[in-house]
Amino acid sequence: MSPLDLLVAAPLAFMVAALVAGQGGRWLILAAGPVMLALSAWLVVLPPGVAHLVGDWDLPLGILLRADGVARLLVPATSACFVAVALYAWHEFSPKAGAETARAHTFWPMLYLMWGGSNAGYLTTDLFNLYVTIEMVSLAAVAMAAMGSLAAGLQYFLIALVGSLAYLLGVALLASHYDTVDATLLAVRARPDLPTLMAITVMTAGLLVKTALFPLHGWLPPAHAAAPAPASALLSAVVIKLGFVILLRLWFEAFAEIIRPAAMDLLGGMGALAILYGSVQAIRQERLKLLVAYSTVAQLGYLFLAFPLIANAQNPAEPWAAVLVHAVSHMLAKAAMFLAAGLMLKAVAGDRISDLAGLARAMPLSVTAFALAAISLAGLPPSGGFTAKFLLLHAAIEQGRVVPAAVLVIGGLLGAVYLFRPLSVAFSGSAAPAVRAEAPLRVAAPLALASLAIALGFAGMTLIELSSVAAPPAVAGPVQAEPGR
């Protein structure tokens, strides 16, 4: 067995176990956590170019799993998120929690389903298989979103469904046109003819819906804000990323040759708009979780703003690394932020930013976690967020692209504006409100994630090397030439 399919199989096994265990589902994490973290670590240190054909079926029929840079960065981060969230949810979704017992039944299996689905998504190159994984993840995500507000969950579900069908349509076209839907093979066979371009269009559109890129983000804030904290964390941190990863595979691997710069610019422009719009919306929010949700809308913009920068860079490896580092650090930071927000809001039994007054004294650790996450999200040094923004800005300036550079700078400032607002409320007031002392285990989760996001800022070189492992030719830069660690 290679870690590649274990990474997919193990969570599914745990899902089944959780379904069986029912009430006791939460105990599984004690086993799942170490196992998955170990597998992720194993994945990271695999020699470059390791690939694995599921069931030894050869392409095009077989399904190829491989440990490229994307996987090596995103799989460990995802595992970290899931473990942390699970630790946090330990109390929230426990039988003891009374009314939430019903949720406890659904939450734990969904968690593992989402885990397996996303891992599969990062590892596979088969577009149809990707469709399956994204549906697995969507299913879990919808279930989790529904825990908060059924209406929001339903809306999310329907929109996501349309998105995935659009994607499926594209897959159908490709399958009939090229008799394969494997990205690596398509990279060789793809021709810029009408069906292909149509396929790319519908697939991209579908994925953009799932990724909630402005102006397709309408469903995201209500769903993410309404869900219980651990669910929101997973929705914002993990679920969104899968669609993005698939887009990366399409745009820079399968069809890198035939995609026109204009298209890249279009995506970049939407990304820019998303950054500005999302930030402005976040600034306007009065409810903490809505603020965080809109910040997700804004942060997703950076991922797409990078597209043209990667496409036009003379050394694409750096922006490529930047976009992956951004995805990872946003994953960690956003999860941490939602968890910390959940802790604080639960403590003060409110959901408004103004309710946080004085928490810096009452719950220093939670506020610290929130602050660290905020630093990374606002792209302030030292943090993964900064490294990503730094590399992107560097690329933008190198290519003399004024607009992306300006958007990066302004977006960072806006980010600081909306992220420091809750903080300054937390610092306000000299009298601490009377709230329960923080439970170390639960605070540890967001704190650890946020610290990781910060720590990424010190590992720039390592991240860049990782991201360049088995990178598609379109984004392979001189960095790849250097031998690995």
Binding site: V132, A152, V162, L165, A172, V181
Partner: protein, 108 residues
């Protein structure tokens, strides 16, 4: 033009029509259940295209078939989830006193 050729294009074209209908439905209809059905229509259309295009001269290519089957399984699962949610939602609404056919107005 020969019959098989026509047939060869018949399935994809029908599928396309279905997809279009489904989209119209999804856009125009407000009730979640109807929208879910519309989505299913779209799905059916897509599977038709998938299968149809795969259908070569005489021989049938197993690959699209496999995809179609998988796709159907997935859509069934999702439809089940969706209907469950809609059912729950309408129960809640009824409990809250508003009729089941109210267009859903979600409150974030």
């Amino acid at each position: 033009m020969t019959v098989p050729a026509v047939l060869g294009h018949l399935f994809p074209l029908t599928g396309a029509v279905l997809v279009g209908l489904g989209l119209c439905g999804f856009i125009t209809l407000r009730h979640p259940l109807r929208q879910l059905l519309a989505v299913n229509v779209i799905g059916a259309g897509i599977f038709l295209i998938l299968g149809g295009l795969g259908r070569g001269e005489g021989v049938t290519d197993p690959y699209p078939q496999a995809l179609v089957i998988t796709g159907i399984v997935v859509s069934v699962a999702l439809t089940a989830l969706g209907t469950a949610m809609i059912a729950r939602l309408s129960e809640d609404r009824r409990a809250a006193g508003s009729g089941p056919d109210q267009p859903k107005d979600q409150d974030p």
